[in-house]
């Protein structure tokens, strides 16, 4: 990557050459980094769904210990800054890896893989939010339907699969859309541990061209594009899940 250092003064034309796809343009790097942002967000969100389901199941369980543990999980990870959680996961797993490496004779600090630790960190945080979303969705179910299913003699698992799950997913979609937007924006924080996603790529470009505003405004526009497109996706999903449901107001 040999990019020309440019003068700080530059018009719109210079900007387009800077962010273009020419030999000294950063367009390709920025787009690739956007892909990385989406990838790490998707993995984090997926981890969050798993943790959120477990959290919600624990919150709705009969056992007090499980309920307390889930309450603790959601309170802590929704109450503590995400940046701190990312530091915890990065340095936490790095110190484990360093210790293991030391056993094999290596010396010095060994960093943890940034994609994995980053995705894990935002997964754990988003799981805390998603647990709340799922609890709300299950509680949104009409009590009578569950009772009717039970009266029909449905075993619990079948009841869950046929009655609870299809409706809960429908109720959860708007909340999940919000969490997804949150995850997408949170993923920018993974730049602090060195993963080259959109934010980190913008920093690299800003550093080597001395045009920070151009790079960060481009990053902002790309984030906006991703949130906008995925917003449309979630709205379409919501609409699709509401097919055949009568609503009081449009």
């Amino acid at each position: 990557m040999s990019h020309m250092r440019r003068n700080a003064e530059g018009g719109a034309l210079d900007y387009f050459r800077l962010m273009g796809f020419g030999p000294d343009g950063w367009g390709r790097d920025m787009l690739a980094a956007t892909g990385m942002t989406v990838a790490v967000s998707v993995v984090g969100f997926a981890i969050g769904i798993v943790l959120g389901c477990l959290g919600a199941a624990a919150k709705l369980s009969r056992f007090r210990a499980l309920r307390a543990a889930a309450e603790c999980y959601t309170t802590v990870f929704r109450g503590v800054p995400d940046l701190l959680v990312i530091y915890l996961f990065y340095f936490g797993s790095s110190s484990v890896i360093t210790a293991v490496a030391a056993m094999f004779g290596a010396s010095g600090f060994v960093g943890a893989p940034t994609f994995l630790t980053g995705a894990l960190a935002i997964g754990v945080v988003s799981g805390a939010y998603q647990a709340e979303v799922f609890v709300g969705a299950v509680q949104g179910l009409a009590r009578g339907e569950v009772e009717a299913a039970r009266a029909c003699g449905m075993p619990p698992l079948l009841l869950f699969r046929r009655i609870v799950l299809p409706q809960a997913i429908r109720f959860a979609i708007p909340g999940l859309g919000n969490v997804w937007q949150l995850v997408l924006k949170e993923s920018a924080l993974i730049s602090v541990i060195g993963l080259i996603e959109l934010m980190r790529q913008a920093q690299i470009g800003a550093g080597s061209t001395r045009q920070p505003f151009s790079f960060f405004i481009t990053a902002a526009a790309l984030y906006l594009l991703v949130t906008f497109v995925s917003g449309i996706g979630f709205r379409a999903l919501e609409e699709r899940s509401m097919r055949g449901i009568r609503r009081a107001s449009g």
Partner: protein, 240 residues
């Protein structure tokens, strides 16, 4: 197993960051609320250009990460020599003011929708009655709309304030040593991330608890004519 002296040490070190965390939160929530009120009024003005401008602002600030906004202001603005020579530069050069500005601009976008929700939540009949009574638009706004709107939006605004407490952590990325900044330094010095995280977590949860209590007290104080509203478990995800 548990190294108590280390916990005490970490807590006292981290506690030195609390004033800065609180200061950043208070400054940005207050400044942000003023801007949010302006944006909300633009949204409900019924004048299309103002409404559109406010909408654009809100979408832009809610659709991008706070970190980008902070970097744009702290690193990005220096790209313009005109700005570097202007009277604003002594402020914009300081990481502290950049952080306050970015946090305030960010929370204004979220706050505007909360305030708008409060404003349109006031029953139209009451406003009509006030106007029929001969109140001017401004008087009706001050006496009828605003007091009720404040009551309606306080629970959501409390959540926003707690989100801002957490958001101040990002100030550490531009050299400010608030609680998270100190925690990051402590972790890299001691290699004991779990203990430091626990201590910082306790501090943040305590601050959040106090902020939540403060907003509950505000809700009670503004329940001028009715019983205090029931404590609702309002979702703290940011609503689109």
């Amino acid at each position: 197993m548990i190294d108590l002296p280390f916990f005490v040490d970490s807590l006292t070190t981290l506690a030195r960051g609390i004033p800065l965390t609180l200061q950043l939160t208070a400054m940005s929530v207050l400044l942000g609320a003023v801007a949010a009120l302006g944006l909300a009024l633009m949204r409900v003005s019924g004048f299309a250009p103002l409404d559109l401008a406010a909408r654009f602002y809100i979408v832009a600030f809610r659709g991008t990460p706070l970190l980008v906004q902070i970097y744009l202001i702290y690193f990005g603005l220096g790209q313009f020599p005109e700005l570097r020579q202007s009277f604003l530069w002594p402020f914009l050069r300081e990481a502290y003011w950049c952080a306050v500005l970015a946090l305030a601009l960010n929370t204004a976008a979220y706050g505007a929708e909360i305030i708008r929700g409060g404003l349109i939540g006031v029953p139209a009949g009451q406003i009509e009655a006030a106007r029929a009574f001969g109140m001017s638009r401004f008087l009706a706004f001050r006496r009828i709309i605003l007091p009720q709107a404040i009551r309606l939006m306080l629970p959501a605004y409390g959540n926003e304030a707690i989100l801002m407490v957490k958001a101040t952590a990002l100030a550490s990325t531009i050299t400010l040593m608030e609680v998270t900044g100190i925690a990051a330094k402590l972790i890299s010095q001691t290699y004991r991330p779990i203990e430091v995280f626990a201590c910082a977590g306790v501090i943040y949860l305590a601050i959040n608890f106090i902020v939540a209590r403060a907003f509950l007290a505000l809700q009670r104080a503004t329940a001028w004519d009715r019983k205090p509203p029931a404590l609702r478990n309002v979702e703290s995800t940011r609503h689109a």
